[in-house]
């Protein structure tokens, strides 16, 4: 991004939008980093009133130590060596003699210790993003610069220990220095003249890249949920229908290791809850025989469903999306054929189609990393590992319910729901579910951790999560409601339910428990129609016999009871 572009973006800030306050902690003159950080955040958060406030010049650690405001969404820390000891910068001349080195190393360790403690004191609802030193150390060491001396390694060791320590905190994210090296030339970062004349350390392109990296951690992309892969010349090398299942390969010996690496990555992605399916033009029995080979690196039980036949792949993708019940924009399709990618893209423009680089070894590392990035998340929740199983169970559920009347079927499901009022507010899964659910979502509103935390600070607010299981197994936590009781009426501000939990009457049970627990005569819902929340709208239309819906939606207990079908769940609350 050019500076001119950033300044123009910043002039468009929505002054009447919800505030998004960020503190910028850096020891140098913050102006360009502030400008670029604001612009990148505005791009990621359209409609928000982004305000980036720099801390004190030359006092990065003090700025972090003073970060106490509960209204702060994030603190962005652009750390440099000079913040840890001024002798490691160019604005002070405190000494680079051998006798100073021991003191510099001690001082750096102490400052990092202070910074570590200060970061850990910041409330978890404030996101902390850290850029570790990006500028080269000055020639302070005795050894020639092409030798990594013991003193330099001790400094690096202190830094790495510090980074590993703060990385354990769930609200802390650290910029990957290797990735930054790829987009910002290490030799072209320091602007010494600007540093000495004005205190601006970074050249403008570097200020942009550091800011972009910090903004990306403050507002991470929503990870994709599913990957659909081709088989021949993608999951393995060779056309299995022509050479047979024993002849296709994915190993070093056969010069097809890149396919093995791809399988290995898919297996890892499945382990973090990514849905995997196959769309291949092949004979099903041949494909299944190959997938059953003992040397396959991707467990066949991680793949569901298999669309293996000779019909167009756009139709396969259509059916897979329906089975997974997720939006096309949450899915990646990988194939070695540009024609197949184009055919799928034409039918499903929101699906991200990626060419498998079967003939381009140089492109493979970037391809694999791109897949990691698209599905990347900071932590893996218990529900992530349940997702595939619950979709399989959903298919079993569909199959079992065919031919049975809904009540007769639901009655023998042995279903139970647990409504957790006591720990749901603090459970990160609650916010995650609110932010990623589209279809059964009361208003589509998204919250940062800080927004969510502020809502929960009101003592009249309640949050409840709903976990479900039946004879087919557990679906985990599938619904979240947030609201408050005021003047006798119950108000619900957030209500989401995973699409995996549809058709089980869980939504009715949620409302019944709310009516009972709060002795409420009515519930007011902060409803807002979105392009994607038709299932929620249909639920309200059915129960209220109202078309169109008018916000806010009110539901009396009497109206609810008159429309509520029989519920068969065993209910427990805490």
């Amino acid at each position: 991004m050019k500076l001119t572009e950033a300044l123009k973006i910043n002039q468009q800030v929505a002054a009447d939008g919800a505030s998004f306050a960020v503190t910028l902690a850096c020891g140098f003159t913050p102006m360009h980093v502030k400008t670029f950080l604001t612009a990148h955040l505005l791009n990621a958060l359209p409609g928000r009133n982004v305000v980036v406030e720099p801390g004190l010049y030359g006092n990065l650690v003090g700025t972090v130590e003073g970060t106490l405001s509960p209204d702060l969404q994030a603190i962005a820390i652009a750390l440099e060596w000079a913040d840890l000891d001024q002798r490691l910068g160019y604005r002070q001349t405190g000494g680079w003699s051998p006798a100073d080195l021991t003191d510099i190393i001690t001082n750096v360790g102490q400052m990092l210790h202070r910074l570590d403690a200060a970061i850990k004191r910041i409330r978890p609802s404030t996101k902390v993003v850290v850029s570790l030193p990006t500028l080269a150390l000055p020639p302070v060491f005795v050894a020639p610069s092409f030798q990594a001396s013991e003193a330099e390694m001790r400094l690096e060791q202190s830094l790495v220990n510090f980074a590993a320590s703060i990385a354990q905190c769930s609200h802390v994210s650290i910029v990957n220095r290797q990735r930054l090296d790829e987009v910002s030339n290490r030799l072209d970062r320091l602007d010494l003249k600007a540093e000495l004349l004005t205190g601006l350390s970074y050249k403008i392109p570097h200020a942009d890249q550091v800011s972009a990296a910090l903004a990306r951690l403050i507002c991470p992309l929503v990870p994709k949920k599913g990957l659909i892969t081709d088989l021949d010349d993608t999951l393995w090398s060779g056309i299995v229908g022509e050479i047979g299942s024993s002849a296709v390969s994915w190993d070093l010996e056969s010069h097809s290791q890149i396919h093995g690496l791809y399988q290995q990555l898919l297996q890892a992605l499945a382990g973090q809850g990514v849905l995997l399916a196959i769309a291949s033009k092949n004979n099903l029995d041949v494909a299944q025989k190959t997938l059953a080979r003992p040397d396959v690196l991707l467990s066949p039980d991680k793949i569901f469903p298999l669309e293996v036949h000779w019909r167009p792949k756009s139709g396969s993708v259509e059916r897979i999306l329906k089975t997974w019940n997720i939006g096309a924009d949450s899915v990646i399709f990988v194939d070695d054929s540009p024609m197949e990618l184009a055919e799928v893209k034409a039918a499903h423009p929101a699906v991200e189609c990626i060419l498998f680089p079967k003939a381009d070894y140089a492109a493979v590392p970037a391809f694999l990393r791109n897949l990691r990035d698209l599905f990347g998340k900071s932590r893996i929740a218990e529900e992530d590992s349940l997702r595939l199983e619950s979709i399989r169970r959903g298919a079993d559920f569909q199959q079992a319910s065919e031919g049975a009347t809904p009540d007769a079927f639901l009655e023998q499901m042995k279903a139970s729901v647990l409504l957790d009022f006591s720990t749901a507010g603090a459970d990160p899964r609650s916010l995650e579910l609110v932010n990623k659910t589209n279809q059964f979502n009361l208003n589509g509103r998204r919250y940062t951790e800080n927004d969510w935390s502020k809502e929960l600070n009101d003592p009249s607010t309640f949050v409840v999560s709903v976990a479900y299981q039946d004879k087919f197994g557990s679906l985990g936590k599938v619904a979240v409601l947030r609201g408050k009781q005021q003047n006798g009426a119950l108000q619900v501000a957030s209500w989401v339910m995973s699409c995996r939990a549809f058709a089980r009457r869980i939504e009715f049970q949620c409302l019944r428990v709310l009516f009972d627990r709060f002795h409420a005569d009515s519930i007011i819902f902060d409803f807002e129609g979105t392009p994607k929340n038709a299932p929620l709208q249909d639920f309200f239309k059915d129960i209220l016999s109202e078309t169109p819906l008018v916000a806010p939606v009110g539901l009396s207990r009497q109206a609810f009871e008159s429309k509520c079908p029989p519920l068969y769940h065993a209910v427990s609350t805490n």
């Binding site: 050019k2 001119t4 300044l7 102006m31 360009h32 600007a194 004349l197 004005t198 601006l200």
Partner: protein
């Protein structure tokens, strides 16, 4: 108005969005409330981007009006 001054007006508009196009040729640090040291550096960097040149930060204090910046570009960088 020549092309250089038109491009320079664009630069000033980016840094001082409250100034009208008519006010910019008359702008001086003394009559432009937002023209502080931060804006001065930003202006220099925006001009560098626009004209693809590197300005001498030592001259920052002297470049305190639209006219002086325009004259500097013409004299030091042969931008007509």
């Amino acid at each position: 108005m020549n092309d250089t001054n038109q491009r320079l007006i664009k630069c000033f508009q980016t840094v001082f969005p409250d100034l009208s196009e008519a006010q910019i040729p008359l702008a001086q640090q003394s009559n432009t409330k937002d023209w502080d040291s931060v804006a001065a550096i930003t202006l220099v960097n925006v001009i560098e981007e626009e004209f693809g040149i590197e300005l001498d930060l030592d001259k920052l204090a002297d470049l305190d009006s639209f006219d002086k910046v325009s004259a500097y570009l013409k004299a030091e960088h042969a931008i007509a």
